[in-house]
Amino acid sequence: MVDAANTVTPDRQRVELAALSAPAVLFTLAMIAFPLAYTVWLGFHAFSSTGRQSFTGLGNYSKLIADTEFWHGLWVTLALYLLSLVLQLVLGIWLAMLLFNAKRLPGIVRSLFISPFMMPPVVAGLMWLVILDPSLGAANYILQAAGLPPSDWLASPIWVIPTIALIDTWQWAPYVALIVLGGLQSLPASVYEAAQIDGASAFTTFRRITLPLLLPTIVTAVILRSVDLLRFFDIIYITTQGGPGNASNTLNIYGFRVGFEFFNIGYASALMLTLTVIVFGVVLAFNRLRGAVAW
């Protein structure tokens, strides 16, 4: 590529290219890598109420293993993660198929269908807080009009996790749909024609052809949603702040409260590092899976 006619030497080029990416790299190191190292350091320290710090070694981590609130938080995190993920995948794929088949839908309507996830999650939380109000909300009115018993929704320790999963699904199933729609549009039309000639029904075509071919796209959607769901924060903090009691106290909410409400920075660092390891572990596992299902 770079031939002798060039007046610019390769060395000079290399320096120039490095200089172009230097601001982004230095910024990321300063804002992420260095603070991350600092968090690791903080995780080995205990902080007294007056802000004095002392080295505790693995003290925060042995505290974590003995902390029932940590294990409860892990359970809440995983329950919310799996429930939301399944709901969002099923409804997202359903919505993608609908939009894929509705080719004449005007662009503006299409963008309304996928609009929820562009809304601030905080706004989504506020909105649903009003709709799901146990005594005056529209949701209970609809339930009762249909002859069903009303629910306490976010105020119920039993229903709070499914309810939060429902709110997040309302917001992010359209995002899954958008990704799957991209995958659908890139599938070769020839496979459908072959299936049609063979007389396959719509359901068989979906199950035997579309779904397997879509698998890499679906795994991508799973990875992107996993990253967000495992560190779920905004909607919970705006609606329940981990309550009622500690029923929706995910690890991220718990770590935040330990750090910024009880100002136990050292223990909060240990909690957040543990959560980060979990997130990266899940992402790496699914990334492997994506390699296995690629075609």
Partner: protein
């Protein structure tokens, strides 16, 4: 057996029914929010809930009276535009260099911010910014939000730069153009729409971001999103004003989303899916 024209038209009808159902499920909560914001106060909390009878803007005027909504909006604008600008300033040359060299680690490095929980960075930032007295400053907020915008800019622009034929750059090099000059004079004009999408997505996600401002802002620098959290406590009995605030806060990102909806797939999956 189910391939007669009759059953096919039924399948089509069934699709339309499902589409309408999905549309109602997706749009009615937002519609309810907007509707509630225009209801007179006695009707917002009426039970059974009513559809609108006499629309009013009293909730909006009350919101402006109750809270410094306008100055929160200015704060949000400063933080959002500042962080989107910083993301573009650092991200455009980095994306170009990654696309040129095919050395991808700088781009992957910025993705770390997309993966780790925000609280992980927030703990050390809080300690560090407090140390230098920058809690509540616009600088701290802009810097923290640029962590969100930078990977968006880089990963939206990477495919755009990749799509430019290499021969264009080589011809310019033969003429003695430096790489920086090629980026400025040739590549950037060619990826103009990509830069626009990157800017808009950066704006939306920076505007929407809650966690950093929750801790790093103070009364004077609070963004709209962080302020909205306080509205819940204050406005628990004032649903109308609460919904007016929610509607106004959601308006800018929703309007921008409508503009870029065609490019959303590649932009939002950070290169994982080619839309």
């Amino acid at each position: 057996m189910d391939h007669t024209p009759l059953s096919e038209s039924w399948i089509k009808r069934f699709n339309v029914v499902q589409l309408v159902l999905a549309g109602i499920l997706i749009m009615s909560p937002t519609a309810w929010m907007v509707l509630s914001s225009f209801k007179p106060s006695f009707e917002v909390t009426a039970y059974p809930p009513t559809l609108i009878l006499s629309p009013t803007v009293e909730n909006y005027s009350q919101l402006m009276k109750m809270t410094p909504f306008f100055s929160y909006a200015i704060n949000s604008m400063i933080v959002t535009l500042g962080s989107a600008g910083l993301g573009l300033l650092f991200g455009i040359p980095a994306a170009f260099a990654v696309s040129w060299t095919r050395i991808s680690w700088p781009a992957v490095l910025t993705l770390a911010a997309r993966m780790a929980p925000g609280t992980l960075f927030l703990l050390p930032w809080y300690v560090m910014f407090r140390e230098v007295g920058m809690i509540g400053s616009y600088t701290a907020l802009v810097l923290s939000h640029a962590v969100i915008t930078l990977p968006i800019v880089i990963w939206v622009l990477l495919p755009s730069f990749d799509n430019i034929p290499r021969s264009i750059f080589e011809a310019a090099q033969v003429d003695g153009c430096s790489i920086t000059r090629i980026l400025w004079k040739i590549a950037m004009p060619l990826v103009g729409s990509g830069i626009a999408v990157a800017a808009i997505l950066s704006f939306v996600f920076s505007w929407n971001y809650f966690l950093f401002a929750l801790v790093l802002s103070n009364g004077d620098s609070k963004t709209l999103i962080a302020a909205a959290f306080n509205f819940v406590g204050e406005g628990s009995t004032q649903w109308g004003a609460l919904m007016a605030a929610a509607t106004l806060i959601a308006l800018p990102p929703l309007m921008l989303a409508a503009i870029v909806q065609r490019w959303l797939v590649s932009g939002l999956t950070l290169g994982a899916v080619k839309g």
